[in-house]
């Protein structure tokens, strides 16, 4: 009996907007086992699965979905973890619609298989049902590798190397590992308990994580390599340096970078002040400048932290917004207003230095600029003011210069990213590899994870061929392909 393909995907329940804006609890509730099995049934188990090519870490998608069909959820998660140590995270925050799911053949006629939701389901299932299984440790190689930064790129690279038998140490500047997963992406999208759980798995693979260690300050990369015996290093320090617009009034009280606002809320748990000591100021009228994932996260966090009205201001049109569609929808459902084709020109404060108003100007779209998007141009004379007592600047982040500035021979591009061969991830300094946002500029969790995985392969190759003359030249020029 030929079964008819279900064109619609199995829906995932969400907290209703009115309820969710009062808490930081996770919005998306995940599948039940029945729902997961129903969704798995939609997968055709393609022999040559296009979806896998869309996944930067090449998860064997049909195999894990097949295991779900058979009800072997623990087997499914094990299958995923062969390729990705962070399934509960990626299943939640990957822009699947642009990656694995975009390539799914079911998507040609109907909605693609909900690969991300299935991935998330099995990871959560494993966590809820007994011990997380740890692969057996391979024989030690007796070689030390330093990983700088504990975001997704660093975590994945470390896991891969540990599984190969290297002694791996991650150095992390903050007091908690996880990078943006911990300090940036809010609780209601990615609960911190889940991040902690997946980091715990990385530790169980044998990776040592040293927090409160700022490479370049606490010790330089050169010292780690010259004096402390690290034979190779992977720099994955992210793109965490906030940008401001440089317009008048930007240092008034109540004006935050998205990084500061989100760090106070996520890492320092300011939404639970005074139980937690760190405060955050959220006024009645909150303005968020920018329209990427960061802006959506900041806006939705502000709402949950008590704002009456949250307005997102964006200088281009809706089409150019870089946030995931799902996140824009979530924000609008929650009552956040979008003011497109609008840009702030200055902030006006009161006698105590607190921001009180934002002066905005209307914009129109002109010719395409270097990014290929139509350039926004201010409409002269269209300035007007709206009230604001908290402003959050979410207009992008650039790489933090601490490591490049303190490391001899580690060159950067004019964007501040570390110069490296795109295939091998080898930098201008022998033994040092890089990946994630500090190499590519701000991107995504899974791209960072994928680059950590690729780099691990080349790090292994380098350490196995270290004595070969000219090996670094070959790696830097991309003449090795694995």
């Amino acid at each position: 009996m030929a079964r008819r393909l279900k064109l619609e995907r199995t829906p995932m329940s969400k907290l209703p907007p009115a309820e969710r804006i009062k808490t930081f609890d996770e919005v998306a509730l995940g599948y039940t086992p029945e729902e997961a099995m129903a969704e798995a049934e939609r997968c055709l188990l393609c022999r040559r699965p296009p979806c896998v090519a869309g996944c930067p870490v090449e998860i064997d998608i049909p195999s894990f979905i097949d295991l779900i069909k058979k009800g072997d959820f623990l087997g499914a998660v094990k299958k995923i973890k062969e390729a990705n140590p962070l399934p509960a995270i990626c299943g939640r925050v990957c822009p699947q619609e642009d990656q694995c799911e975009m390539k799914c053949v079911v998507g040609i006629k109907g909605q693609p298989v909900a690969i991300g939701r299935l991935e998330r389901f099995v990871a959560d299932y494993e966590a809820a049902h007994g011990e997380v299984e740890i692969p057996r440790k391979p024989p030690r190689k007796g070689k030390k590798v330093a990983i700088i930064g504990s975001g997704p790129a660093g975590l994945v690279c470390a896991s891969e190397l540990a599984k190969m038998g290297y002694d791996v140490t991650i150095f992390e500047a903050l007091h908690k590992p996880g990078g943006v997963l911990m300090y940036g992406i809010p609780q209601f999208r990615l609960p911190k308990e889940i991040v902690a759980r997946e980091i715990d798995y990385v530790k169980k693979l044998g990776v040592e994580i040293l927090t409160n260690f700022v490479v370049g300050k606490t010790r330089t990369l050169d010292e780690l390599m010259r004096e402390d015996g690290y034979e190779a290093a992977f720099v994955a320090t992210g793109a965490g340096y906030p940008r401001f617009m440089g317009i008048p009034g930007e240092n008034l009280l109540g004006i935050y970078s998205a990084n500061e606002f989100l760090t106070r809320i996520n890492l320092m748990r300011a939404y639970r002040f005074p139980e937690y000591d760190t405060p955050v100021k959220v006024g009645k009228h909150v303005i968020v400048v920018g329209a990427g994932n960061v802006a959506m996260d900041a806006a939705r966090s502000a709402l949950r932290a008590g704002a009456e009205k949250v307005t997102i201001v964006y200088r281009r049109s809706r089409k150019e917004m870089t946030a995931r569609i799902e996140e824009i929808e979530n924000a609008e459902e929650e009552g956040i207003e979008l003011k497109i084709l609008t840009n702030p020109v200055r902030f006006i404060g009161d006698e105590n230095g607190w921001v009180r108003e934002v002066e905005l100007i209307r914009m129109k779209l002109g010719e395409p600029d270097e990014s290929g998007r139509r350039r926004p141009i201010p409409v002269e004379g269209s300035e007007y003011r709206i009230p604001a007592d908290t402003v959050i600047m979410a207009i992008g982040q650039v790489p933090n210069p601490i490591v490049p500035d303190t490391t001899e021979g580690l060159e950067t591009t004019r964007h501040g990213t570390i110069t490296a061969n795109p295939r091998t991830h080898a930098t201008t300094k022998e033994g040092v590899f890089t990946g994630g946002d500090i190499m590519t500029g701000a991107a995504t969790v899974i791209l960072a994870a994928g680059s950590g995985k690729t780099a691990a392969r080349y790090i292994d190759y380098y350490l196995m061929h270290r004595d070969e003359p000219g090996i670094w030249q070959k790696l830097f020029k991309g003449e090795v392909e694995l």
Binding site: A173, F213, R219, P242
Partner: protein, 280 residues
């Protein structure tokens, strides 16, 4: 890895010294740099200057004034207790040069910040005069430690109970009238640093101040610590904390330090109530 408190000393009312075991920080620290600590898992991250290090023993000395919840809580800890977090050394080290005669001015906890600075300035061959300012005699910090390092120590108290009666600026005016001053370092409350900057602006004496804005990460990631120097926005945790005093917008700094005044007072009140309950 815990950061154990090895020694604790009361320096005066509301001001304490602690030696903390933090070998990495001790090994790398230079004068003018600071650490960020958290007392406990729910605590705030606060910056404190590295007053002294002993790399051999892996020890970092901090000196702090109890002004709010975190510093009061810190002060209640005992020898043997451990801090949740302790990261550093952060910030740029002091630029040490041979200037000639240097006046180093400390107000409040600022005197602690001066200790490593004046040590380095002396080593570089400068004649160093320190002015320690306080409201009253019992608040004068680190006088004997300072005397061991520098050429001359001048004390000013607001009420005249010790040393010269007046403000540190009166002390500075006296020294400037007496001899040629080549450089000034001033660390302390913002109004004090501002007043010193005003005095040295006209005679164009190079003046350096160490700024103390509110910080979170201390690595350039959040921008909480923005200050305005020479009309430009700078991040004090990575571009500073030391800047040319004549370029600093002190009024903005003073305003920004008040951003969380309400929350700080609320937090402190709850904490004191809790302490009272525990004492009963």
């Amino acid at each position: 890895m815990g950061y154990k408190i090895l020694r604790k000393e009361v320096l005066g009312p509301g001001s304490k010294l602690m030696e903390v075991h933090a070998p990495f920080v001790a090994r790398g620290a230079k004068p003018g740099q600071f650490i960020i600590l958290r007392v406990h898992e729910k605590g705030e991250r606060i910056p404190l200057t590295i007053a002294k290090t002993d790399p051999e023993r892996g020890v970092v000395t901090i000196i702090f004034q109890e002004v709010g919840k975190t510093t009061i809580h810190l002060g209640l800890l005992k020898e043997g207790d451990e801090l949740a977090d302790f990261v550093g050394p952060l910030g740029k080290p002091t630029e040490i040069d041979k200037f000639g005669t240097v006046v180093a001015i400390g107000g409040g906890f600022g005197t602690a910040v001066l200790l490593p600075m004046v040590t380095a300035l002396k080593k570089a061959g400068n004649r160093v005069i320190t002015i320690i300012g306080a409201r009253t005699r019992e608040l004068v910090l680190l006088e004997s430690e300072m005397k061991e390092i520098v050429d001359e120590v001048l004390i000013t108290t607001d009420d005249g109970s010790y040393g010269m009666k007046g403000l540190v600026t009166d002390g500075l005016r006296y020294i400037m009238s007496r001899e040629k001053v080549d450089a000034v370092y001033a660390v302390g409350p913002v109004p004090m640093m501002k007043a010193v900057a005003e005095m040295t602006r006209e005679p164009r004496i190079k003046t350096i101040v160490s700024l103390n804005p509110i910080m979170v990460d201390g690595t350039g990631m959040c921008g909480a610590c923005r200050v305005e120097v020479g009309g430009k926005t700078r991040f004090a945790c990575v571009d500073g904390p030391e800047f040319d005093a004549h370029e600093v917008n002190f009024d903005l700094l003073m305003q920004r330090l008040k951003m969380y005044r309400e929350e700080e007072q609320y937090s402190l009140r709850l904490f004191k109530e809790q302490l009272e309950k525990e004492a009963v």
